[in-house]
């Protein structure tokens, strides 16, 4: 009887363990699928707001416009249909704001009920017209045709240099400045954190006495426990004004500020992982080196660090991983200008900061919303590559 109860208990225990891991795996899978599902949508969409259309006259031979061309047209950088592959005819823009220049209030009627027919007239009159209209004003018997827009491609998304997701009527979804911003800030962070972290790790693993190490270790672990928004505060209040004064800049919110803050945040990871790696160097190798008359520094540089090389590489990649994904602190100190940076003393905007700052304003299910999810995919891929390379380095070391 007792035996049977025990058996049932064991079985139940097994079921609990199995279901926990299943739930965990499914959750992760679900999040990834959700991310891709939302983000991929961007590449099936045309860069025009829902329920709006671009109308041209039937004489117009232009087949498609990209969002970039559209933006140039609305900025008057392109003024002739010839420039986008059509007839030699100047482009006449028409949006709902231009109503009063063409029609009087009486002509349109009290509730704009005459507007669709008036638009038909206008299209006939002006063969070079490009009208941007809400669906409800498009005439049912349209005398012109709807001009389709090119779908957003992955290449356009990744290499596009302009990120104006809310610009109307032609939003721009080029994320190159954001990718570069992320890379700049992360690269700067690792340049700051790696020498400092490695030196600290060597000090703790090889030089410091047990007592000093027992004091240092909790301090470094404390560094990992500080919420990122607090780092952001520190950066904003101390670092940003300091950089502004030091380099005599108009604003202190720069890539450099982000790099320094991220560098500090990546320190605990780098120190802990490299210290562990340094500790795996066998005592027998260090003794062999010392017994041959090598000094402590020679032993560290010629034996200990080379032996721990792969662990140190893993530490720095993990540090970069932390820097790439960090949101809050970077959002607070980098100035968030979505332009391609040329020096560390310019404001930049990173991918996570963009998502955090804009998701609240993006209409649910809209293009902007989808574009932010596509950014999420990009970030996921970057961190995935980083984590995979850490695993590869680790397994390569074992074999």
């Amino acid at each position: 009887m007792k035996r049977k109860r025990l058996k049932i208990f064991e079985k139940a225990f097994g079921v609990v363990l199995f279901s926990s891991s299943t739930v965990t795996s499914l959750t992760v899978l679900f999040i990834i699928i959700f991310l891709f599902n939302e983000g991929i949508g961007l590449f099936n969409s045309t860069p025009v707001e829902q329920k709006y259309k671009f109308i041209v006259s039937n004489d117009n031979t232009v087949k498609e416009l990209t969002s970039k061309q559209l933006k140039d047209i609305f900025n008057y950088d392109i003024t002739n249909w010839k420039q986008v592959g059509g007839k030699n005819d100047s482009i006449i823009l028409f949006t709902i704001n231009d109503l009063s220049t063409y029609f009087t209030d009486d002509e349109l009627g009290a509730n704009f009920e005459n507007l669709p027919s008036k638009i038909n007239e206008l299209i006939k009159k002006q063969p070079g017209i490009l009208a941007y209209l809400s669906d409800k004003y498009v005439p049912s018997q349209l005398e012109g045709h709807v001009l389709p827009l090119t779908k957003i491609t992955v290449k356009e998304f990744v290499t596009g240099k302009e990120w104006y997701p809310t610009s109307k009527p032609a939003p721009q979804f080029g994320v190159l400045p954001l990718i570069l911003g992320t890379l700049w800030v992360s690269l700067g962070a690792i340049l700051i954190a790696l020498p400092l972290g490695l030196a600290t790790a060597i000090f703790m693993a090889e030089v410091a006495s047990q007592r000093l190490r027992n004091i240092l270790k909790p301090i470094i672990e404390l560094l990992a426990g500080i919420p990122s928004v607090v780092y952001g505060f520190f950066g904003l209040v101390v670092l940003v004004p300091l950089i502004q004064h030091l380099f005599n800049l108009p604003v202190g919110e720069t890539a450099l500020a982000g790099s320094i803050i991220l560098g500090i945040m990546a320190l605990p990871t780098i120190i802990t992982v490299s210290e562990d790696a340094l500790r795996t160097t066998p005592t027998s190798l260090k003794e062999a080196s010392l017994a041959l008359g090598a000094t402590r520094w020679q032993t560290i540089t010629r034996v200990t660090v080379p032996y721990a090389r792969s662990g140190i590489t893993a530490a720095s990649i993990l540090g970069i991983g932390r820097a790439v994904g960090e949101t809050m602190a970077v959002l607070m100190v980098t100035g968030n200008a979505g332009v391609i940076p040329h020096t560390f003393l310019e404001p930049v905007r990173t991918i996570p900061a963009t998502i955090a700052a804009e998701l609240g304003e993006a209409p649910f299910g809209g293009l902007h919303f989808k574009a932010l999810f596509a950014l999420g995919i990009l970030l996921f891929l970057i961190t995935f590559i980083i984590n995979t390379s850490v695993e590869l380095i680790k397994t390569r070391k074992k074999s």
Binding site: P282, A288, S289, L290, L292, G293
Partner: protein
């Protein structure tokens, strides 16, 4: 301690090295925190001899060996009293620079511990850290050391290969070559064959015998037969004390102390 070839230990004549005592311990005590690990050890090592240190585990023989190149310094809480002399100089004297001292004492460890570098670089390591970088001479020294360590014929075609590609026995001979390259005046061996198969062990033993012509060797061993085969003198340690020190032949045939006798005949240990 009873030494048949007694060399009278005199405070004064150790100040001028007379060539008779390669290495010497005088009233050496070693404490590891509160633990008294070596108790008043007196021992003289003559040039071009092999001295075996035997005794049960934890008797202090490895600790004693590591006095001569100050490897005990690496452990926290070690306190040493008495004098350890190497060629007439006090190893623990104020004027001694530890790195310099270790250049004149080679050490071979229990397990083969080559560096994760090429065979060539392993042998060259000791020279490189001492600032020696002459390319041609370096090649000569590496070759000579490998020949002395009876490894040259086996590795001469693959000096650039990783030392980890060698067998355990070859690795240990590589470690011996590495120690020989810095031309030490004393070689310390801490159970150099304990991790090796019988064939490799006998090669190492032959090597130790050959090296005696040029070097002075102190070897820690657990293997009585090995001590009998390779050493000229044997010191028996027990619980931190030097129980007996004598010519190996004398000690193995006619031990003075009953503890030595019991240990040698395998009744305990």
């Amino acid at each position: 301690m009873k030494d048949t070839d007694t060399i009278q230990i005199n405070e004064k004549d150790t100040l001028t090295y007379n060539g008779l005592h390669k290495a010497e311990a005088k009233n050496v005590n070693l404490f590891y925190k509160d633990f008294h690990a070596l108790k008043n050890i007196n021992l003289v090592v003559k040039p071009n001899t092999v001295t075996a240190l035997i005794g049960p585990s934890g008797c202090g023989k490895s600790t004693f060996l590591r006095l001569f190149n100050r490897m005990n310094d690496l452990i926290d809480g070690v306190k040493i009293t008495g004098d350890v002399m190497l060629e007439g100089r006090n190893v623990y004297g104020k004027d001694i620079i530890v790195d310099e001292l270790r250049k004149s004492v080679g050490m071979v460890f229990q397990k083969p511990n080559p560096f994760p570098k090429s065979i060539f670089e392993n042998v060259a390591y000791g020279l490189r850290v001492n600032g020696f970088n002459h390319k041609d001479k370096m090649e000569d020294i590496v070759e000579r050391s490998l020949i002395q360590a009876a490894l040259w014929d086996e590795v001469k075609d693959k000096l650039k290969k990783s030392a980890y590609e060698l067998s355990g026995g070859q690795q240990q001979r590589l470690c011996i070559a590495r120690a020989l390259a810095i031309e030490p005046s004393l070689i310390l061996m801490d159970e150099p064959a304990s991790a090796l198969d019988p064939l490799s062990t006998s090669k190492i033993e032959e090597l130790i015998y050959d090296l005696k012509d040029k070097y002075t060797i102190i070897i820690v061993t657990h293997n009585m037969q090995q001590a009998g085969r390779v050493s000229d003198y044997t010191a028996f340690f027990y619980l931190g004390e030097l129980i007996e020190f004598d010519k190996t032949k004398t000690m193995f045939i006619n031990p003075q102390n009953v503890k030595t006798q019991n240990y040698i005949t395998g009744r305990f240990g």
